[in-house]
Symmetry: D2
Subunit: 306 residues, 4 copies
C-alpha cells in the first residue's frame, strides 16, 4: 500500500492535501518539512506531501531550500487548498480569556487583522505548525490559551472553535505538492507545469535577464520566480522557476537546455499536471510541430539540400 | 535626543545594529518588526532599525511586506552584521540537560547541523525573536531549557553560554536597515544603493523581463530581486529590487521613471550609502555627464540646430 | 520665391514629386543627387527634392550616403509617388526596331520582365537617370533606340510611347523627401516620422541589438532600417533608421538620447509629417502624459517626498 | 574540367576573383550578375563568381536579390579583393582630352574625388560593368573618351593608363563569392561564415529585435545585416544575414532553426570558410560540447533520472 509522509501532526492542511491527492494512501506524519522529505528520500515512505507556496506568504522557504539542496526529489502532482483559520481553545474557555495565542508564523500573519481587533492585548507566540499549535494547546498544562489552526485540527485534538474564518482574506490558497524519488515522470496532459532551480555560474549584471531570455525566446511563460540566498554571503542568490508546459514539450526542453548551458547548475524538480487545468497559450512557432518541422529543415540544409 | 525603535527585546542582533548605526540614540525595543516600524510611522520614534535580508535565510518577509504595504518609510542607512549564535541556558544547566530548545526559526535553521549533532533528541520550539527566547529561558519556570541567541542576549538576561559559534556557517551576515518617515534623502556618496518595490500593471508573460530591461538599458545593475505574493491568489507577485546607485543619478532616475511608467505602482524605498562602500561600475554612456550631454544634444536638435 | 533643386533633367519622377510638395516653387534641375543636395547646402536653392527609398529597389544609396556624410540637412516633408514606366522612342520607331535600350539601372530592374519578353535581343545600357535617358534618346545621333522612363519625360523630350505601364509590378512606389538646411522643425502633427543615422562606437557583437533595445524599451517603432558601409573595411556598417513619431515626443526624445549616449555619433535627419497620415500606436506607459507624470513623480521622490 | 561563370567581360574584378578562387577553371564571362547566376542554375556552368559586398558601396543589390529570389544557390567560398581603379583611354589620348567618362556607377562613386578634381567638366556616364566600359571605350567610334576600370581591363582591351589608383580610398575591398547549385556543403574549418535570408512572417514592431535575439541567445555573432525591400510596398523588408560559424555548429543550427520557426521563410545561402581566417569567440555555454552535454542532460531528466 502506498505510504506518504506529510507535514504533521494530524490535522494539518498538509494532511488535507494528502487526502485529496491520494485518498487511499497510508499517512505518515512528520515533524517538519525536512523530516517528511527525508522519509521519502530514505524510502521510509513512497513520497511526501508538503506546502510549496501560499498566496499570502509566498514560497515556503523550507520546502524551496530542501528541494534545492538535498538529495533530488521530483514533484509529481500539485493541489490548491483554500486555507481557512479558526481560533481554537480548550473547552470552557471564552474569547475574553485568551491571553496567549500559539500558531505558525504564516497563520499569525494571515490573521493579523483579527488578532489586532479581537485580541489586542494577547501575546502571540510562534509554533512549528498550526496543527502542532493545536496539539500543544490541547495539553492540560499548556502555557497557551488558544491556537490558530484549521478547524479539522481542533476536532482532532478536542478543541472548541471560538471564531471561524478569521483570516484577513477569505481567498487564501496554499499549493501543496506531492514529491517522489526520481523515476518515471507523469505523462504530459497539455496543461502541465515544470519546476526547476537554477544556480548562476557567476553573478554578473544581467545574469537574470539572460536566464529569462532563454525562456522568452522559446515562448515559455513563467508562472513563478523566487530568489533564495545561496548562503555564500549577501547578494548571492539562486532561483526557483515554475513554468508552463512539460519537459517533454520541445520548447520547454530547448529552453531548459539553454538554461543548463549558461548556468553553473540547473536542478530539474519535475513536470506534472496543473491543478487548475489551464493549458498554455502557445506562441506562434513554438509548438512541438514547429520544432520538429524546423529540425527536418535543418537536417535538409545541413546535407546541402536547401 | 534621537530615538530609534528596533526589534527587541534588549540583546537582539537588531540592537547591535542600532548601536553601530546610531551609537548615541535612545533605543526603543519593540515586540516585532511591525511594531518597530509603526513606532516610526506614528512618530513615537524618529526611525527604526530592522533586519532586511540574511545571507542564509534571504529577505526577511515581514520587513519586506511592511515596507511595501504600510505607510511609506524610507531607508536611510544600512549595516551588515555577522551573525553568531550561542546555546544559552540558566546557570547550572549542562548540555546533557537540554531537552527543549527555544529560538527564532531563522536561527534554528542556521544551527540545524549543531542541533542534529549535539542535541539529537531535543524538542525545538519557535520563538518570536532570539533575544525573546533568551528572555523566556531566563524565567525561573520556563518550559524551555536553552535558547539559541546572540551571546550578548545571554549576558543581558543572565544566561551562561553552553556552546558558542554554533551556526552551520561561520560567515552568515544579516543586513539591517535604518528607516525614517519621508523627508530629505541622504546625499549621494558614489557608493549608494536604491531600494524599491514594483507592482505589475498586469501579470502578462514577459512582464518581469520588461522590468529588468528598463534597468539594463540604462546600465543599472540589480543587487537583489525578491518576489512577494500580492495576496490576490497564487501566481500574483510584486517585486523588491535593490540596485546600484542613488536616485539622484541620472541613469537610476531614468530607469525607475521607466519602471514607473510601465508598472501599476512603484514605491520608492530610499537611496542610501552602501555598507560595503563598493562603487558601481558605470557602463559606457550611462554616467551623469553622458546624460546631461545627451540632454543638451536633444535640446539642440529639437530646436532645429543639428 | 522659393527655389528647390531636384534630380533632373526635366521630366524625372523627382520633378513630379517636387510639383506635389511645392507646386509654386521655382525648380532647379541638378545632374545628380549630390548636386541637388549641394545646391541646397550652398544656398543656391532653398532646399532639394530627392528620392530616398523605392519599394522595389530599397534605399537609394546615394541619397542615404549624402545625408549621412555631407553638411547636415534636415528632411522636412515626404511624398509617395507611384512609379510607372513607359518605353519611349523617337517618332517613327516601332517596337521591332529597338536594339539598344537606355535607362537608369533601377528602372531596368523594375522592367526586367517586359524587356525579357518583348525585347529579348536588345542590349540594355545603364543611364544616370531615367529622364536623362529620354533626353539622350531624343538626340538625333543617339546610339540608343529607346529609353525607359516616365511618360512625362517622353512628352518633355518629344518621344513617343511604344508601351506603357511596363514595370513588373503595378504598385511600385518611390518615397521622395524634401530637405532644407537646419532651422525650425515642422510642428508635430500626431502622424510623424523621424529619420536618423547612427554610427556604432565599436562594432561589438550585439551592438545592433542594443540600439534596437533603446527604441523598443520606450515603445518607439521602426519603419525602416538600412545598413550602409562606413568605408573602413568590410563588415563596418552604420545604420539609417526611420521611426514613428516626432523628436518632440517624449518617447522619441528619450530613445534617441539613449542612442546618442551609446553610439559614437548620431545624426538627426529630421521629423516630418508622414505622407500616409498613419498615427502610431502608443504603447501603454509611453505617451507624453506618461512621461511628464513620471517626471513629476521622480522629482517628488528625489526630494524625499514619496 | 570545372567551368565557372562570372560577371564579365574579360578584365573585370570578378575575373580576378575567379582566378584566385579557382585558378584552373574554365571561365565563362556573363553580361551581368543575373546571367552569371543563371548559367550556374541551368548547368551551363558548374558555378559562378559574383561580387556580394563592397567596403565602400555596401551590399551589391543585384547579387543579394538574385540569391534571395531565384532558384536556390549555395555560397561555397569567398575571397576579398582590394579594388584599385585606373583611368584608361585609347592610345594617343591625354588627360586634357577626356570629355566623356564611362564606368560602372559603383566605380564612379569610388572615384568621385578624382573626377571632381581632375576632370571637373567631364560628363560621366554609367556602364553595366567596369570591364564593359573599357571594352566600349576601346571601340574606334566610341562616344566615350575614357573608362574607369581595373588596370587589367586596360591591358586586355589595349587601352593606356592615364592615371592609376584614382579611388578616393586606397583600402577599398570587394568580397566575391563562389556559388554552386545545392549539394554537399564545405566542411567546417573552425573559421566559417554562414549566409542566409529571412522573411518576416508579419511586419510587427519588434520583429527585427526578435530575430536578433534568436542569434544572441545562442551566442551567434552577426557580421553583416542588410535589409532589402520585398517589393510589396514601402516599409516591407526582408533581411540578409552573415553570421560567424558553420551550420554544422550546434549553436548556429539551433539559432537558424529558431529563426525558421518565427519567420515566414528562411533561405539558407551556405556555410563556407572565411577569407580572413578569423575564428569566432565562442561564448561560455555555446560550444558544440556544451550543446551535446545539455542534450544528454535533457534526455536523462526526461526519462526521470535527475
Amino acid at each position: 500500500m502506498l505510504k506518504l509522509a506529510y507535514l504533521g501532526p494530524e490535522g494539518t492542511f498538509a494532511e488535507e492535501a494528502l487526502r485529496i491527492l491520494a485518498p487511499d494512501a497510508e499517512r505518515l506524519p512528520s515533524a517538519n518539512v525536512s523530516a517528511a522529505l527525508d522519509a521519502a528520500r530514505r524510502g521510509e515512505a513512497d513520497g511526501a506531501v508538503v506546502p510549496l507556496e501560499n498566496s499570502l506568504e509566498g514560497g515556503i522557504a523550507s520546502t524551496l531550500d530542501e528541494l534545492a539542496w538535498g538529495d533530488p526529489l521530483l514533484i509529481t502532482a500539485e493541489v490548491l487548498l483554500p486555507v481557512e483559520f479558526s481560533l481554537l481553545a480548550r473547552p470552557g474557555k471564552e474569547i475574553g480569556d485568551i491571553k496567549r495565542v500559539y500558531s505558525h508564523p504564516a497563520a499569525l500573519t494571515q490573521c493579523r487583522g483579527f488578532v489586532a481587533r479581537e485580541l489586542p492585548d494577547a501575546v502571540v507566540v510562534a509554533a512549528p505548525s498550526t496543527a502542532g499549535a493545536a496539539q500543544e494547546v490541547a495539553l492540560p498544562g499548556s502555557p497557551y490559551d488558544a491556537a490558530i489552526a484549521a478547524r479539522i485540527a481542533g476536532e482532532h485534538y478536542g478543541l472548541v472553535e471560538l471564531a471561524g474564518r478569521i483570516g484577513d482574506r477569505s481567498d487564501t490558497v496554499t499549493r501543496f505538492v506531492r514529491v517522489a524519488r526520481p523515476g518515471t515522470l507523469p505523462e504530459p496532459t497539455g496543461a502541465d507545469r515544470t519546476s526547476l532551480v537554477a544556480f548562476l555560474s557567476e553573478d554578473h549584471p544581467g545574469a537574470l535577464l539572460e536566464m529569462l531570455t532563454e525562456f522568452s525566446v522559446r515562448g515559455v511563460n513563467l508562472t513563478r520566480i523566487e530568489s533564495r540566498p545561496t548562503g555564500d554571503g549577501l547578494g548571492n542568490y539562486f532561483f526557483h522557476f515554475d513554468l508552463e508546459g512539460h519537459v517533454a514539450d520541445a520548447r520547454v526542453g530547448e529552453a531548459i537546455s539553454g538554461l543548463h548551458r549558461i548556468c553553473a547548475d540547473v536542478r530539474f524538480l519535475g513536470s506534472y499536471p496543473r491543478a487548475d487545468g489551464l493549458a498554455p497559450q502557445i506562441r506562434r512557432g513554438t509548438a512541438d510541430a514547429d520544432f520538429s518541422e524546423a529540425e527536418s529543415w535543418l537536417s535538409r540544409i545541413r546535407s546541402g539540400l536547401v
